[in-house]
C-alpha cells in the first residue's frame, strides 16, 4: 500500500517545478556502556536519511515525507518509515478532505505527551523521543475562526517497530507479530478506528479535546502467545482527552489529561507467566516553559514537565510506563550565533521509585550552511534494587553519540 501511494505521488512530483523539497543525510555513531553480553551490539553505526517534499497547487496538496536508517552490519535493524504520504484538497474554503499516511501531533507538551497516541512508534530509539510511524487515515477538517473540528477514520493500525534482540534499546528478547484484541474478536490490524478532535485558540489560550477509538499501541502488554513466543497484545481502547495551553509574557503553561477505557479486558499470559489484563487509567501531565533573553541576543529556556498515571495501584503504574510519576527538568541555552550553537542539559527524575534518574546532555553546532553536528550523552542512574523495574532495566545503557548531518 505504501509503495503504491509512493509511486502515485512521486511520479507526478518529479515534473512539478513548484514542489518544495528538503531533506537530510546523517552519519550516526553511538557507543553504549558494555553490558557484558555478546548478543547485543554496544557500538552502533548507521546512516539516516529523510526526504520531505510538498507540492501545492491552489487547494490541492501532495505531501511525501519518509525516513530510512541503515545500520552497519545489522540488516535486521534497518528500517524505512513513511511518516506523511497523503493528498488533501480544500472544499468551499472551510473544509479540507485528505487521505493517506499521516503523522499527528496532538500534544502541546515536549516530553510527556498523554494526548499524542494516534501513531505507532519506532521503539528502537531513545525512550523519551520515539520516532513516529504514519497512520493510514481518511480525514475531514472543518475550519472555524481560530479553531478546527476534525473527523478521522483509521482503516489500519500500523505496527510499532520493536527493538531487535541485538539492540541496546530493548530487552534482548525477539518479539513476534502482535495480537490485536477487541470485544468483537478481531485479530487483524485492519479495523475501523476513528476520532473526533476540536481545537480552539482564544487570545493567549489554546484549548484542545478529542475522543479516539483505536488499538492502544503506547500502553500494551508484552505477553506470550500459544507457542509461548513473546508477543505484544494491543487492546482496543476508547480515549478521551482535553488539553490547555496558556502564554503569558515569558511563561508558557500546559496541562493535558487523557483517560483510557479499554473495551475488552480479557486476561492474557504475561511475559513472566502470570495472567494480566488491561485496566482503565488516566495519564495527566503539566508543563512549564520559561524563556530568558540575555544581552548580545542569546536565549535560554527552562522546561519543567511532570507526568503521573492515575486510577491504578503503584504496582500497576510501574508496569504501565517507565514515566509513571516522573519529573523532567531541562535547561537549554541558545547562543544565537551564526553557527546556531546550542547546549541542552536535562534530567528525568522518578518521584515514586527511589534513585531512578536519566541525565541527558546535548550540544549542537553548525559547521556551514549545509552541515551540522550533534553530540549527545545519556546517563542512566537507576541501580537495580530487587527485580528490574522502570528505568532499572536500562541502567547499563549509558551512551555517547555523535551525528554529522548534511542538509539539502
Amino acid at each position: 500500500m505504501v509503495k503504491l501511494i509512493f509511486i502515485i505521488l512521486v511520479i507526478p512530483l518529479n515534473g512539478m517545478a513548484e514542489s518544495f523539497t528538503q531533506g537530510q543525510i546523517s552519519f550516526e555513531y553511538r557507543r553504549f556502556e558494555d553490558d557484558m553480553t555478546s548478543e547485543t551490539h554496544d557500538e552502533q553505526i548507521s546512516v539516516f536519511s529523510r526526504i520531505d517534499t510538498k507540492y501545492q497547487q491552489a487547494k490541492n496538496k501532495f505531501v511525501l515525507r519518509a525516513y530510512a536508517r541503515v545500520h552497519s552490519g545489522k540488516s535486521g535493524q534497518d528500517i524505512v518509515v513513511a511518516e506523511d504520504l497523503y493528498y488533501s484538497t480544500e472544499v468551499k474554503d472551510f473544509i479540507e478532505l485528505g487521505a493517506g499516511y499521516k503523522i499527528y501531533n496532538w500534544s502541546n507538551l515536549e516530553v510527556f505527551r498523554p494526548a499524542d497516541t494516534v501513531n505507532s512508534k519506532n521503539l528502537d530509539t531513545d525512550i523519551e523521543k520515539f520516532e513516529k510511524i504514519g497512520e493510514l487515515s481518511l480525514y475531514a477538517n472543518m475550519f472555524m475562526p481560530n479553531g478546527q473540528l476534525s473527523i478521522y477514520f483509521f482503516p489500519k493500525s500500523a505496527d510499532p517497530l520493536f527493538p531487535t534482540k541485538e539492540s541496546r534499546f530493548g530487552l534482548n528478547i525477539p518479539v513476534e507479530d502482535p495480537i490485536w484484541v477487541d470485544k468483537d474478536g478481531h485479530t487483524s490490524n485492519w479495523n475501523n478506528s476513528g476520532a473526533i478532535r476540536f481545537t480552539q485558540s482564544l487570545g493567549a489560550v489554546d484549548f484542545q479535546a478529542h475522543i479516539l477509538n483505536h488499538y492502544d499501541r503506547d500502553y500494551f502488554i508484552l505477553g506470550l502467545n500459544d507457542e509461548l513466543a513473546v508477543v505484544p497484545y494491543f487492546f482496543r481502547v476508547n480515549e478521551s482527552s482535553v488539553g490547555l495551553q496558556h502564554s503569558a509574557d515569558q511563561y508558557l503553561t500546559k496541562f493535558e489529561v487523557t483517560h483510557k477505557n479499554y473495551q475488552d479486558e480479557s486476561e492474557v499470559l504475561s511475559i513472566v507467566g502470570t495472567a494480566v489484563k488491561p485496566k482503565d487509567f488516566s495519564v495527566a501531565a503539566l508543563g512549564l516553559e520559561y524563556d530568558q533573553s540575555f544581552d548580545h541576543g542569546s536565549t535560554g529556556k527552562i522546561l519543567i514537565e511532570y507526568q503521573r498515571i492515575l486510577g491504578v495501584s503503584l504496582y500497576e503504574r510501574s508496569i504501565l510506563s517507565v514515566f509513571q510519576n516522573d519529573l523532567f527538568v531541562n535547561y537549554s541555552y541558545n547562543l544565537n550565533d551564526t553557527m546556531g550553537t546550542q547546549l541542552s542539559l536535562g534530567s528525568f527524575i522518578d518521584l515514586e521509585r527511589s534513585h531512578e534518574f536519566l541525565h541527558i546532555a546535548t550540544y549542537t553546532r553548525r559547521l556551514s550552511n549545509t552541515w551540522k553536528y550533534n553530540i549527545n550523552m545519556r546517563l542512566f542512574d537507576a541501580p537495580i534494587k530487587s527485580s528490574p523495574d522502570g528505568m532499572e532495566i536500562l541502567n547499563q545503557s549509558d551512551s555517547l553519540s555523535f551525528s554529522l548531518d548534511r542538509f539539502f
Binding site: 503523522i103 485558540s201 503569558a248 509574557d249 541576543g297
Partner: protein, 259 residues
C-alpha cells in the same frame, strides 16, 4: 525678593514641564503622521536576504521569504519561511502583532512536523544569529512607544525630525533615537540603546523605493545596515523582491497554514 525667586523658579519649572509636554505631544504627532503615511499598504510579499558579517569580516548568508497582511485597528500579521541555512529550511514563523497586548507567535518545526506556540518575550533575542532582534523587524505600532521630539536635523541631503522613543512593554532597549525623513516619512537611521542606556546598535536605511497603493504613495527602504557598536558585528538586511499592496488571503495567516 524671596517671592520673586520663587516665582522665577516656578516659571522655569512650568516652562520645562510645558516644553516637555510640548515635545512629547510633537513627538507623538510626528510618529502618528509617519504611521498614517505608511498605513493602507494592504499587504506585502517579499523574498529577503541577510548578510551576517562578524568582527573579522567573514560573511554568512540567510535567506527567507515572507508575507504581511495589514490588519485594521490592530497590528499586522506576518508569515516568514526560512530558506537558508538548510538545517532550518522550511521553518515558519507566524506572528500576530497587537497594539495593546503581547504578540501571538507560532513556530512550525518541519523536523517534528509540529506547530508550537512560542512566548513573545524573546523579542530582544537575535533573529537568526544576526545583529537584528525580533523586535527590530516586527511591526512598529505607535502604541508600542512613548515619544519625545528632540530636534530637526539634516542627515546627508535629507531634512529629518529626530525623535526619542521609549518602549512601553518589555524590550531589549532602554530607548531608540529615530531620524525620520520629512519628505519620505520613513526612518533613515535608528540608534538603539541597551538596558544600561549605552549605545548598542545603529541601523541605516537606504535603497528607498516609492510604491503607489491605490493612488497613495509611500516609501520603503530595501536595505537596512545594522552595526553593533559594542561587538563590531554587522548585518545587512536586503529585500531581493518586494511586492507592496499584494493582498494575501487571511487564511494564509492561520495556524493551519503553517503545515
Amino acid at each position: 525678593m524671596c517671592n520673586k525667586k520663587i516665582l522665577i523658579i516656578m516659571m522655569s519649572l512650568f516652562s520645562l514641564v510645558s516644553y516637555s509636554k510640548n515635545s512629547q505631544e510633537k513627538g507623538l504627532e510626528i510618529a502618528t503622521k509617519v504611521q498614517d503615511a505608511n498605513n493602507q499598504f494592504l499587504g506585502e510579499i517579499n523574498t529577503t536576504k541577510m548578510i551576517l558579517i562578524d568582527a573579522y569580516g567573514a560573511q554568512t548568508v540567510r535567506k527567507m521569504k515572507g508575507k504581511i497582511l495589514e490588519v485594521e485597528n490592530d497590528g499586522d500579521k506576518s508569515l516568514s519561511t526560512f530558506l537558508e541555512p538548510l538545517d532550518v529550511k522550511g521553518t515558519k514563523m507566524l506572528t500576530w502583532s497587537h497594539k495593546q497586548k503581547n504578540d501571538d507567535q507560532w513556530l512550525y518545526l518541519p523536523s517534528l512536523r509540529r506547530v508550537k506556540r512560542i512566548s513573545s518575550s524573546g523579542q530582544s533575542s537575535s533573529f537568526m544569529g544576526s545583529e537584528f532582534s525580533f523586535e527590530d523587524l516586527g511591526s512598529q505600532e505607535v502604541e508600542k512607544f512613548t515619544y519625545n521630539y528632540l530636534k530637526d536635523e539634516t542627515l546627508g541631503d535629507s531634512l529629518t525630525w529626530v525623535l526619542e522613543r521609549t518602549p512601553i512593554r518589555k524590550s531589549g532597549y532602554s530607548k531608540q533615537i529615530v531620524w525620520t525623513s520629512k519628505k519620505m516619512l520613513t526612518p533613515l537611521k535608528i540608534e538603539y540603546f541597551d538596558r544600561r542606556e549605552k549605545l548598542l546598535k545603529t541601523a541605516v536605511f537606504s535603497d528607498f523605493k516609492e510604491y503607489s497603493i491605490k493612488k497613495k504613495k509611500m516609501f520603503r527602504a530595501n536595505k537596512i545596515h545594522m552595526k553593533n557598536i559594542q561587538t563590531k558585528k554587522e548585518s545587512i538586511f536586503l529585500w531581493e523582491t518586494r511586492s507592496l499592496g499584494s493582498v494575501s488571503s487571511s487564511r494564509e495567516f492561520m495556524k493551519r497554514s503553517l503545515k
